[in-house]
């Protein structure tokens, strides 16, 4: 984990895109968006990292690339609940407001308040500093129906090829 953060910061410092991940197993698809190992993915392009009692949620590199520069992130207050597939907030980019959906059900225990001042973190660090909410999953088995990195990479390729 620490090593991956290091690589990401260095890449940013060198003005390289944060697309060089240390877990690049399935990261090179046509548009070079990165997909990380150890995360689960929803077809609406959100990722989930399940660590113990908490699941962290954000949007993927593919998602932020397709959105353009994020200028506003609308997030809920902690304490509310979310259902799998339900919307918990929105991001604004290029005059478009796009809903964000939660891949798991549960109680929102923490919200990334840095995104109010620095919405661009969603673009520059979608898997780390751009995390959005932390949820206490009410049904961890929901994670089983999400995609793994390889599946998600293929999903993105097929979606991009559709037009």
């Amino acid at each position: 984990m620490a090593l991956r953060v290091w690589a990401s910061s260095t890449a940013n410092a060198l003005r390289l895109s944060s697309k060089a991940s240390l877990s690049p197993a399935f990261s090179l698809h046509r548009c070079f968006s990165s997909v990380l190992d150890g995360l689960k993915y929803a077809p609406s392009h959100e990722w989930v990292k399940h660590e113990g009692p908490v699941a962290t949620v954000g949007i993927t590199d593919h998602a932020q690339d397709h959105l353009g520069e994020v200028v506003f992130v609308d997030l809920p207050e902690p304490g509310g609940s979310v259902s799998k597939g339900g919307s918990f907030g929105a991001v604004e980019s290029v005059k478009a407001t796009s809903d964000i959906n939660c891949p798991v059900s549960g109680e929102i225990v923490e919200v990334n308040t840095k995104l109010t001042e620095t919405p661009g973190l969603v673009n520059s660090s979608p898997y780390e500093d751009g995390w959005m909410i932390k949820v206490k999953p009410s049904d961890p088995s929901e994670l089983g129906s999400l995609m793994g990195p390889k599946e998600y990479t293929k999903f993105c390729e097929e979606e991009d090829a559709a037009h």
Binding site: G68, E69, F72, K95, T97, S98, N101, E159, A161, H163
Partner: protein
Amino acid sequence: MKSARIIEVCRMGVVNYMDALKLQERLIAARKSSKIPDTLLSLQHPPTYTLGKRRTDHNLLVPESDLGKMGAELYYTQRGGDITFHGPHQAILYPIISLRDIGLGARKYVEKLELTMIELASLYGVRACPGKSGETGVWVGDRKIGAIGVRISNGITSHGLAFNLNPDLNYFKHIVPCGIEDKEVTSLKREADMELPTEEVIEDQLISCFVTQFGYSSITWKDKKSLLCGDDGDTR
């Protein structure tokens, strides 16, 4: 190989903003459950100011109470973008389409909406171009001729674009249009050197530019009453 893609288009005339919003909500739900194909609404609004999700009402330069005296309404919406004005003689398109089905993200979708308006302007010899970064919309030099504000929910779009044919530009004096100071608003009437045909003709051309830009292979024309009723309109 692309399969044939159909769009249903409804020319609605002048529609109150709230009525159009309620219709879009119903269309979004129907599109999401695949009860209807991609749908496009072509319409105009009576004088209406709207704000986006960020609620940037500091860009309204007159008290809200004055708007009624001007014959205008104000709505807070969930779309992206800043404050804008809609009114008669401004052509509006509200596409209710599935971006996932055509593999487009927000950025590419908005670019294609810009290109739709740029193409229409070019039919009248007007050279328009997309805004610089952060200034989404369509410009003729430093003057804005077309605006965009979109909402995407579960991959389905709503709201859309507004292209100035010949609206009363004085209404724009009461706002900082799109939150961008010191830039003028203009219209096709002002920019074109040639005589313009009727608005119905130009609105149909705008529809045609949209259909081409987004690669639909056939259009089904729907009248207002048959929208969402499962009736077939005329197929061309």
